[in-house]
């Protein structure tokens, strides 16, 4: 458990009757059942502690119907960490073996195939790099970590980032055999498997001598910067860890790349929850979009620290895909309200979910891109 017993009790006592963060809980807004609200879940945990309720599948169903995207904590004046409270409760369910089949599938997929999607035949990174033009000659001080979501759902995205580095003439290195950072294991509550993944990965990374690590997936980035610390795994020393938009902005600032073609349409940015509220970076993607789009960047009503989640958090897509896709639809509606023609995000999982949700829209008046893709369009 990552909340101490004192923190857990304090959070439960604070949240069990409190209705104030209801608008921040996207799942609560969709399901509309009191047990699936922040106070409902906290009350359930209190009653479980008291022995008035049993840990069972009904409880598990409620605790996995939660987005864990940090917005409740951000919304709360007292900043109570409801998300960690629920994740710790999931850990308890894992220990008791009371979890739904979908949770077990996530765990076994990561352990067996190295990704939560169960994808057996990932395109080798080396092949993606070769197809993107190959490595850049020189002594690399930069390690690229792509994460499994990009490799499974959008390997071309990986190739696009390689093309940017080739245009910038930045030598890089990579891991032939990338393993999962453990993010999805942590989110379902399997802390011991997550820690195991973290240890193995950290060991592999420690054997690579570089100054910088650029992480394409904000979930991996968040894991490295925050959750790994809980296991005393500090990847930041001696390397410096960048998320991909932070690194791309650095390339612009230092003149390695230039915006040769400006975006002509209005652009709106969706903050992935990890960068909105955990390993915070609101501005580097916006700086990039301003650089390549002039004044065409607009904002959704809820942005930055208050950005709504697209359903990618809390393993919700794996346990309750309908709810996750519905949340992604809401983001597209929010984006459309700005009259933007391009919805940009900085997360391969967000991009995947938004594109999947967009399949149900009849009016195709907005396109969904990753910051890497739109940057590449501009600098080519």
């Amino acid at each position: 458990m990552f909340l101490s017993e004192e923190e857990r009790n304090e959070t439960i006592n604070a949240c069990r009757f409190c209705p104030m963060c209801y608008p921040a809980d996207a799942v609560a807004l969709k399901i509309k059942k009191m047990s699936c609200t922040p106070r409902g879940r906290s009350l359930i945990l209190f009653l479980l502690n008291q022995g008035k309720l049993e840990w069972n599948k009904d409880v598990a169903d409620i605790l996995y119907k939660f987005s864990a995207d940090g917005l409740c904590r951000e919304w709360c004046v007292g900043n109570y960490d409801l998300d960690q409270l629920i994740l710790d409760a999931r850990h308890h369910l894992i220990e008791k073996g009371i979890v739904q089949e979908e949770v077990n599938r996530v765990i076994s997929n990561v352990i067996t195939y190295g990704n939560p999607y169960g994808e057996k035949n990932l395109v080798p990174i080396k092949q993606i790099i070769e197809e993107a033009g190959g490595i850049v000659p020189g002594n690399p001080n930069l390690l690229l970590f792509f994460g499994c979501t990009a490799r499974v759902k959008n390997p071309l995205l990986v190739g696009s980032f390689i093309r940017i580095l080739r245009l910038a003439k930045i030598p890089f290195t990579f891991m032939d055999e990338e393993i999962c950072c453990g993010g999805s294991l942590y989110e379902v509550g399997d802390y011991s498997s997550a820690k195991n993944q973290a240890s193995i990965l950290a060991d592999k990374i420690s054997k690579i001598s570089v100054d910088k690590i650029v992480v394409l997936d904000p979930e991996c980035y968040r894991m490295f910067l925050t959750r790994y610390m809980r296991w005393n795994i500090n990847l930041n020393k001696p390397s410096f860890i960048f998320n991909v938009s932070e690194y791309i902005w650095d390339l612009f600032e230092k003149g390695y790349i230039k915006a040769n073609q400006l975006i002509k349409e209005k652009v709106v940015y969706h903050d992935p929850f990890q960068l909105a509220r955990y390993a915070v970076d609101h501005e580097s993607p916006r700086k990039i979009l301003n650089k390549i789009g002039g004044s065409k960047l607009v904002e959704m009503s809820f942005n930055r620290a208050r950005a709504h989640c697209c359903g990618s958090a809390g393993a919700l897509f794996f346990t309750n895909p309908d709810i996750a896709i519905d949340m992604a639809k809401d983001i597209i509606e929010e984006a459309k309200e700005t009259d933007a023609k391009i919805l940009v995000t900085n997360s391969p999982f967000c991009q995947y979910l938004l594109q999947k949700a967009y399949e149900d829209f009849h009016e195709r008046d907005i396109r969904i891109e990753h910051i890497i893709e739109i940057t590449l369009e501009s600098i080519q």
Binding site: A14, M20, Y22, L29, M34, S35, K52, V77, G78
Partner: protein, 477 residues
């Protein structure tokens, strides 16, 4: 109801037939979550491990027609029906005292129409307050109803409890905003009130259902007055050395027929306890916020007239920052760790009266709590926050630091404080409650308040709800 009984299964089947099995639940984990609201008693029961009264069924209908059918089932089997919005009432209004069917209205959450000529919005009762306000704001409009529960309460709940928001002084309480409603009666008929609230066509049935807290029927559609988002909204803070002066300033503002959007006057202990802690303003005395909004010229005129009134009563000007800060953080008071919480015993004993009574009413209630419950470490705070052309409400609270641990003893003390406080209100020209409602917290005092008029209300309830199924145990019925 005995869940092993065949009647239970038959009722469940009937309900599933109406709303779909996916919109019914009987799971224990769900039923427990519908057994508490914001009333202190159920919270205390939870905390002390006392078994809560739970509903038998929870259903999520999507139309007045479905609700009508559910109510007919309830009548057939003589089982209670409890309408449920956001569950944010502080009076136990949604506690299923005798089990029954909780009808959770949150699936009925659509805006039907925004009329930009008449400045009205028609919406379904389960729409979330914050969501409704956001949607209106996109059109340059506002409901201007900002209760502490806005984030989680529903439109139907606003009206069913006669709720009030922080800008009610100008924009009115929820009861003042409602234009017309559709209601499902306790016998299942669906009726509509007249299309407009002001008329000369006999007694108005609209106000019969406003504030009825689910005991006379279920509101299934509402049309509310809305307003344009004001051009400006400005605040000023003042500090008085005496509560009477603060109250007099408010009275003069209102009787001059100025239209401030907000006046808030905090007594000494409130200023000390809350203003410093929550707003981080270190002031001693009687803190006052005044807000004006609307077209700029109008706001400037009102602000300067209000300033003259306050300065004539020796107020110290604190500038606009305290008011702006309060507006930005107005809901902070209701988040933990600032909101009152266990292990304290606490309650908001708000009432409303005319200007000539307010100060003596305040003193009487303060005395009742602080002297009457000294042995329990009771304290009392008050602010005056919703003003009328004829009077003002007092938002007062009691806190008991050392309540009894035994639940039964706690209830006795709790109910006695409430009864003593309520009787002090009634004895000094006030009423049982201003804007939180009655629920089952104050139900036992309704006959006392209404006196010889109570049989009229009771008769009406008996007539409209012959089987007594609608939210029993509430509003004194």
């Amino acid at each position: 109801m005995d869940k092993r009984s065949v009647v239970y299964d038959v009722i469940l089947a009937d309900l599933a037939d109406i709303v779909g099995i996916e919109n019914c639940t009987i799971k224990e984990v769900d039923r427990l979550c519908y057994s508490v609201d914001q009333f202190w008693l159920p919270k205390m029961w939870v905390d002390r491990g006392v078994k809560l009264p739970e509903p038998d069924f929870i259903v999520f209908p999507n139309s007045a027609d479905e609700i009508s059918k559910i109510i007919r089932v309830a009548n057939r089997y003589k089982i209670s029906v409890i309408p449920y919005g956001g569950g944010t009432g502080a009076q136990g209004g949604t506690i299923p005292l005798f089990g029954g069917i909780v009808i959770d209205l949150k699936r009925m959450d659509r805006i039907i129409r925004i009329d930009k000529n008449s400045y009205t919005v028609t919406a379904l009762p389960g729409i979330n307050g914050e969501f409704l306000e956001n949607q209106l704001n996109k059109e340059g409009l506002t409901l201007a109803h900002y209760p502490a529960s806005q984030y989680c309460a529903t439109l139907g709940g606003y009206v069913a409890a006669r709720g009030s928001g922080v800008l009610s002084t100008k924009y009115g309480k929820a009861e003042d905003m409602v234009i017309n409603m559709e209601v499902v009666l306790p016998t299942g008929e669906v009726i509509r009130t007249l299309p407009v609230p002001n008329h000369a066509t006999g007694p108005g049935i609209l106000q019969l259902f406003v504030g009825s807290e689910g005991v006379l029927g279920i509101i299934t559609e509402l049309t509310m007055r809305i307003d344009p988002i004001p051009e400006v909204r400005k605040f000023q803070g003042y500090l008085f050395d005496d509560l009477k002066k603060g109250l007099e300033a408010g009275r003069r503002i209102m009787t001059h027929r100025l239209k401030p959007c907000v006046i808030r006057v905090y007594d000494g202990p409130s200023t000390q306890r809350f203003i410093k802690r929550v707003l981080n303003l270190d002031v001693t005395g009687i803190f006052m916020i005044v807000g004006v909004d609307g077209e700029e010229n109008q706001a400037i005129y009102e602000e300067s007239t209000i300033k003259k009134i306050c300065l004539s009563l020796n107020a110290k000007e604190l500038g606009p920052e305290p008011g702006k800060h309060w507006w930005k953080h107005r809901y902070d008071f209701y988040f933990p760790p600032f909101t009152p919480s266990l292990p304290y015993m606490y309650g908001t004993t708000d009432t409303v009266t005319t200007f000539d009574n307010i100060y003596k009413l305040y003193l009487a209630k303060k005395r009742v709590i602080e002297e009457g419950y000294k042995e329990w470490g009771a304290s009392y705070t008050a602010h005056f926050s919703h003003w009328f052309p004829w009077g003002v409400m007092i938002y007062d609270r009691f806190f008991v630091k050392r309540p009894p641990q035994d639940p039964r003893e706690a209830i006795v003390i709790h109910n006695k404080i409430w009864a003593d406080s309520a009787r002090a209100s009634i004895a000094n020209g006030g009423v049982l409650n201003d804007h939180h409602g009655i629920g089952f917290k104050l139900g036992s005092l309704m006959a006392e308040q209404y006196g010889s008029a109570w049989p009229l209300l009771k008769g009406l309830k008996d007539m409209i709800d012959p089987n007594g199924i609608m939210n029993p145990g509430k509003l004194g019925f």
